[in-house]
Structure formats: C-alpha cells, structure tokens
C-alpha cells in the first residue's frame, strides 16, 4: 500500500472509532445528570429554575467532550492535513 491509501484507511477508521468511543462517556454522563435533575425537581418543584439552569450548564460542559470528538473526526475526514500534504506531493512529483 502506498502512503495515500494508508492515510485514507487509517483516517476513516480513526474517525469512526473517535465518535464511537468518544460518545459513550458523555452519553452516560448526560443520562446521569438528567436523572438526578429530574428527581431533584420532583422533590423540590420550587427550585425548578435554579436546577434547570444548572442542568443546562452542566449538560453543555459534558456535551463538549462529545463535540471535541466530533470536531476531530470531521477534521480527519474533511480537512485532513496529512492527506492534503501527500496530495500536494503527488501533484508536484
């Protein structure tokens, strides 16, 4: 296999694995946060506003990990620097 094929194969596999493994943790975390928030609202409906605001902020924090993974996989597929480098070499040579 030449280097272009290796880069293409490894980028696609790595992008898939990044999303696959990277989504597990945030999914579990968001589920737990939402569960706790719902039971807290059920116990103290008066504090709903504060709980909801804290929930949104913490969900955004947790979700950002999954978003990082997504950005990495998008870069690997659509804006891969190694791919561009070898394409430019292939064009030049």
């Amino acid at each position: 296999m030449d280097s272009l094929t290796v880069i293409a194969v490894s980028s696609i596999i790595a992008a898939g694995l990044t999303m696959c493994i990277g989504a597990i943790g945030p999914a579990l975390g968001e589920g737990m946060a939402a569960k706790q928030a719902v039971s807290a609202i059920a116990q103290q409906p008066d504090e709903k506003n504060t709980i909801m605001r804290t929930l949104f902020v913490s969900l955004a924090m947790i979700e950002s990990i999954a978003i990082y993974c997504f950005v990495i996989s998008m870069i690997l597929i659509f804006a891969n620097p190694f791919w561009d480098h070898f394409i430019s070499i292939a064009k030049g040579g």
């Binding site: 506003n49 504060t50 605001r53 949104f56 902020v57 955004a60 924090m61 979700e63 950002s64 978003i67 990082y68 997504f70 950005v71 998008m74 870069i75 659509f78 804006a79």
Partner: protein
C-alpha cells in the same frame, strides 16, 4: 452565490472577494449583516422611547428582552446586573440572532466558523480578569491564583486557557455539526426529516447562545465573587 459544499467545514473557506492579502469571506459578510440588523432593530426600538403608559411595540419587545437578561444575570451573580448587562447581553443577542437566522436559505451562520467563536471566547477571556481586577484590585484578583497553595498556580492558569478553548469549540462544533447533519439528511431522506432537524436546530441555537452567555457570566462571577465572601467574613 455559491453555497458551502459538504466537505468545507467552515464558511471561512468561501471567499467572495480578494485583493492580495486582504480577503472578504462569507463569515465577515454575514457578521456585518447581523451587526447591521441588530443596530437597525435597536434604533427602531429606541428612537421613540418614552416612559409613558403607552409605549411602542418595539420598546415593549426590547424591555422584555432586557429585563429577562437582567433577571438571569442577577440570579447568577447575586449582584447588581448593570455592570455586566452590556457585555453578556451583546454576546447573547449576537449569538442567538446568528443561530436563529439559519432557517433562511443561503445564510451561513458566522458562529459555524471557528474564527468567530474564537474571537467571542477571547472577549470572555479578556473580560474575566478585567472585571475581577476592577472589583477586587490587582492583588486581590491574583491572590486567587495561589489558592489554596502556590502549587495550584499552573492549574489555575491552565484552566483559564482550556475553558476559553472549550467555549470556542463548543459553539463552533454544535452549530457546524447541525449544518452538516442537515446536509447529510438531505441526501438520505430528502423531504421530511430535514424540516424536523431544522426545527431542532432553532432550539439548539438558542440553547447554545444561552449557555455561552451563562458560562461567560459564571466565569466573571467566579472572578468577582470571592470578594463578597471576604467582606462578609469581615463583618461578622
């Protein structure tokens, strides 16, 4: 005008006009468009402002928006919201409007480009020590970096940078991914699902604008608030 292709992940790559080093990208044009829109609406709302019982529709709308933002800031900072209203309100309105307008065909949200979100995050990065120093003085603010012991200094500094990065990447990732998901769904199920995802995108856009503003406020509050705890301790 050419619309963004699927393999271009940022509207920066769409160059409308170029003269040597200087170029005008789609991001800049749409940012100007939103700035003009916000300016126009605020002029419309405030050029006949009055304290009468009968107020214009636009003034009513503006009062609702401003008082909601003030209430939210007051709840977080436990402080007078007037110092923070201009900064936090501008962040929220700009991001919110630029996310909402994605329902217009041909429009590319400036927030789906990493340059815009990085600029906004750097504004927050500068504003946090600015508010902290004006509230607590230079020494009082930097003392916070050495709490509880001096070993924690590098972690505090690292935290400043990573949360700025997180702020930028979160907004960029959410809005950009929403665009891409709709693009991919258009190819798979052309008629119905893209509309549903568009409706979901409006919600995501507003939630992200809210989260960006709230997080900026939380960071500023954490830089200014230790002051009040100290003064309360002094009173007892």
């Amino acid at each position: 005008m050419e619309i963004l292709r699927l393999n271009q992940i940022s509207p920066d790559q769409l160059i409308l006009w170029q003269l040597g080093f200087a170029k005008i990208t789609a991001t800049m044009v749409y940012t100007w468009f939103i700035m003009a829109l916000l300016l126009f609406f605020s002029w419309l709302a405030t050029h006949r402002i009055s304290t009468d019982l009968h107020i214009t529709r636009w003034q009513n709308l503006l009062e609702v928006i401003v008082s909601t933002i003030r209430d939210q800031i007051k709840e977080i900072s436990q402080d007078s919201p007037d110092d923070y209203l201009a900064f936090i309100g501008t962040l929220f309105l700009f991001i919110g409007l630029s996310n909402l307008l994605t329902v217009i065909p041909g429009y590319l949200a400036p927030t789906s480009s990493l340059t815009t979100t990085a600029a906004l995050a750097i504004c927050v990065f500068i504003a946090v020590p600015l508010y902290g120093i004006t509230r607590r003085g230079l020494l009082g603010y930097f003392k916070e970096y050495f709490q509880p012991t001096f070993i924690f200094f590098p972690f505090h500094v690292m935290g400043e940078f990573t949360r700025t990065l997180a702020l930028a990447i979160r907004l960029f990732g959410n809005i950009m991914s929403h665009d891409k998901v709709i693009g991919i769904l258009l190819a798979v199920t052309p008629l119905f699902f893209p509309i549903v995802m568009n409706a979901l995108g409006l919600l995501i856009g507003m939630v992200q604008a809210y989260i960006f503003a709230i997080l900026a406020m939380v960071y500023i509050a954490s830089a200014t608030q230790a002051h009040e705890q100290e003064t309360q301790k002094g009173k007892h």
